[in-house]
């Protein structure tokens, strides 16, 4: 088993390298074939001809595209993602800060989604067609169909403007972090502030996270609830559940231990994929909550045709998709021994 497991992972990783290489190639050529002038962007608003010519030299823009492609690949092999044409920062540095910001947000929102989605899903299956089921159906459908930016603004209105209990936007309050400077260890504010015992920043960062995390969680909550519910309804009619009832096992244990285990696999796939999707698809949520994340970075990079940055974001997204898929597959094996690798 162990050897097979190792072989399988190696096989998937090798496959992933080809997938990612393919994605890089396509994105590189597409983003470079579109008529644009990276040198113009590099030098600023009102450059001189000499400055543009110099920038062309520096960025190797005068050389054939295929040569530039190999330049890019070879520096990529050295772990260098290049320098962003728009921000003049190394792409890796830009991505790191954007990625940690987004990732912290997604982790919290998926956590909320999994907990709420599973509980709602299980109980609406158990109490099928009750008021609870109907309520969760309304919640799930609105979660999937409401525009996230609208929902986010409504939350801002209620919790910031009318109730005044939660902050409007941002990751942390400027003044709080100024009074209690935070040492960066992982880049996740919650984790860093906990490790360093910086409680005021922890509380403030948590407060800032609640609204965007709930906004972002609405969509996966809807999906998970519906999927868990339909699978649970099926599973609850199985013979082994009837046996469990006959043994007099307490209901909570039957639902959450015996039934859910068989019902959860599709929901987990949903979680995994929505994870990858929100990584760069959360642009609108990031915009209204002023979250300095990957979505915003990707959108601005695309708008200004900043190809090293576009490629950087693409690589992150591709790596995330590939590994999340692998991860979801492994989880399924772990949960359901009948599935073979």
């Amino acid at each position: 088993m162990a050897r097979k497991f190792g072989e399988y992972i190696a096989y998937r990783v090798i496959l992933a390298i080809f997938v990612i290489l393919g994605v890089i190639t396509v994105v590189f050529f597409v983003s470079r074939v579109v008529p644009s002038d990276p040198a113009g962007l590099w030098v600023g608003a009102h450059p001189t001809k000499e400055a543009i010519e110099k920038a062309r030299e520096e960025l190797h823009l005068n050389e054939p595209l295929i040569k530039q492609y190999f330049y890019y690949l070879s520096s990529l092999l050295h772990g260098d993602l290049g320098v962003s044409i728009r921000t003049h920062n190394p792409v890796a540095q830009d991505l790191k800060s954007a990625f940690t910001a987004t990732f912290e947000l997604i982790l919290v929102s998926e956590f909320i989604a999994v907990i709420i989605g599973i509980i709602l899903g299980v109980y609406s299956a158990v109490k099928k067609d009750s008021w609870l089921d109907n309520l969760s159906r309304i919640l799930a459908i609105s979660g999937v169909s409401l525009p996230t930016f609208w929902f986010g603004m409504i939350l801002q209105l209620i919790f910031f403007k009318y109730l005044g209990i939660l902050p409007l936007a941002g990751r942390v309050d400027s003044v709080v972090i100024l009074e209690h400077p935070l040492k960066t260890i992982t880049g996740f504010y919650l984790l860093d502030s906990l490790i360093t015992g910086n409680i005021p920043v922890f509380i403030d960062a948590l407060k800032h996270l609640i609204l965007p995390a709930i906004t972002l969680a609405m969509y996966p909550i809807g999906l998970i609830t519906r999927q868990v519910r339909s699978m649970m309804i099926e599973v609850l009619q199985e013979n082994y559940i009837r046996t469990a009832w006959a043994y007099g096992i307490p209901p909570k244990k039957v639902y959450f231990k015996y039934a859910l285990k068989n019902a959860i696999a599709p929901a987990l796939i949903t979680v995994g994929l929505s994870f990858a999707y929100t990584l760069i698809g959360a642009f609108l949520v990031e915009l209204i909550f002023n979250w300095p994340g990957l979505g915003r970075y990707a959108a601005y990079s695309i708008l200004s045709m900043d190809y090293p940055a576009i490629l950087g974001v693409t690589i992150i997204a591709a790596v995330a998709y590939v590994f999340i898929n692998l991860f979801v597959d492994l989880i399924q094996v772990y949960l359901d021994p009948r599935i073979e690798l």
């Binding site: 001189t48 400055a51 800060s97 100024l178 285990k261 994870f275 690589i315």
Partner: protein
Amino acid sequence: MKKIVVRLFLMTLLVFGVIASGCIGGETTSTKQSTETSSSTTKTQVSNVVIYGYDSEMITLDPSIEFSNSIVTLANVYECLVKYTDKGLEPWLATSWESNDDGTEWIFHLREGVKFHTGNELTAEDVKWSVERTIRMGMGPAFIWDPVESIEVLDKYTIKFKLKYPANLPLIASSAYGAYIMDSKFLSQIGDDDAISNYLNKGHDAGTGPYMIAKYDPKTEIVFKKFDEYWGGWEENQFDTAIIKIIPDPALREQMVTSGEIHIAKSLPLDDIPQLQQNPDIVIKEEPSFRVLYGMLNTKKPPLNNKLVRKALSYATPYEDIVEYVLGGHGYVAKGPIPKGMMGYFEDLPTYTYDIEKAKQLLAEAGYPNGGLKLLLTYTQGDEAEGKVAELLKAEWQKLGIEVEIRPMNWEQQWALARSDPENAQDILLFYWWPTYPTPYDYLFNMFHCEEETLFNLCYYCNPEFDSLIDQAAVLEASDPQKAEQLYRQAIELLIDDAPAIFFYSPNYIYAIHKSVKGFKAYPAYPEVVFFYELRKA
């Protein structure tokens, strides 16, 4: 089950941690600097803070290179020799200056006792070093110093510039880009020009300005601390700490300034301005800008190579309606190519006004009595104002039988198209111009001087008479301003008659100021900069 959920969650976290550090791990050390500077100032008491909500991220922090919006940071930590205000040129780091008769030699007398943030004293050597570094690096704004032939330090506080040709050097020295004075003793220890650049871009500064950068996070916020030994001194009710907060969404900026979370916000949604003006917590400040919106007409391609057609379009543009509808009245109809507040703006200049009958007549004269023309108009994608102008033009020109195809493009693409063969390029291109430093020559030379290879002359206009007029005027700007102004006027009148561009409007900058802050003043020569030193607690 709870156990499984928790375990799943932890595993996910782990795997992602590995991915994150694996694919972007190479850079962990370089990003740390920005935060280390802040953690070194542990537990600072923040007694008073002013926060400016700004819409774009910072780019570079090297004064020799920066040619974009990071001047909102630079202008608070560095200073130029001269400041351009609504009263004209005023002393900044230089207290006075003089030139020889033909304006080829300039002497600046520096303010004495000015300290850099490092504690070093400002001397003429610093000025020489800063300007020479900018020229040597030859990046973005370096061209402003093109007239300079050599720089000579006369004594500790006196410096002489020898020029290759006459130029208005104090005006150049007031530029918002490329004219900041740096601490040469300190920076030259860092290493070569690129090493200094890298050092500065990590969030350091080496200026004389009233504030120092305390924390630099170009995507979220820049925190400034006051510099105690600033030469201008400090008053009781000024701000110890200032923050530029990057907030790209205008609606969010609006909410934050009305709730007092930030104190100054720029470019709010125009539709909301009347409502904000009623808000007792907010003061709306409207300040003229040096930006002008142009419609560059392709003078190399039929039908716009015909002057009569270009004139017809100039007459068929509803100037007043555009200012009303697009800017909500927050701006004014352009009088020729140069904005108010600068040499070369003439209140009594005869310009085109909306006259559809005249336009029809001119079009008939040109041989298109019923129109039947098709024109391609491009503008910068995402620029709401340009988009609205395009829509209005399309509707209006339909009356002349002219069909306009509107194509929004991102700026780099649009510019690349305009710089390709004029025969295949757009017919009309909408774009803004603003000067590097406030001289009419910056507008007229860049957009309308003959060009062998197209750069910003996106109407491909070439008129030797016009060129010689503005070239003469530029030389005389400092030594004989009256004569220069007269020459500029001749050139501009020529330009208006040739109609290579439509001059739409100059928009105002609109700032919303929370009532807790007063003393705000905008300077069009330093676009979008909030000089925190001038602010007071209300």
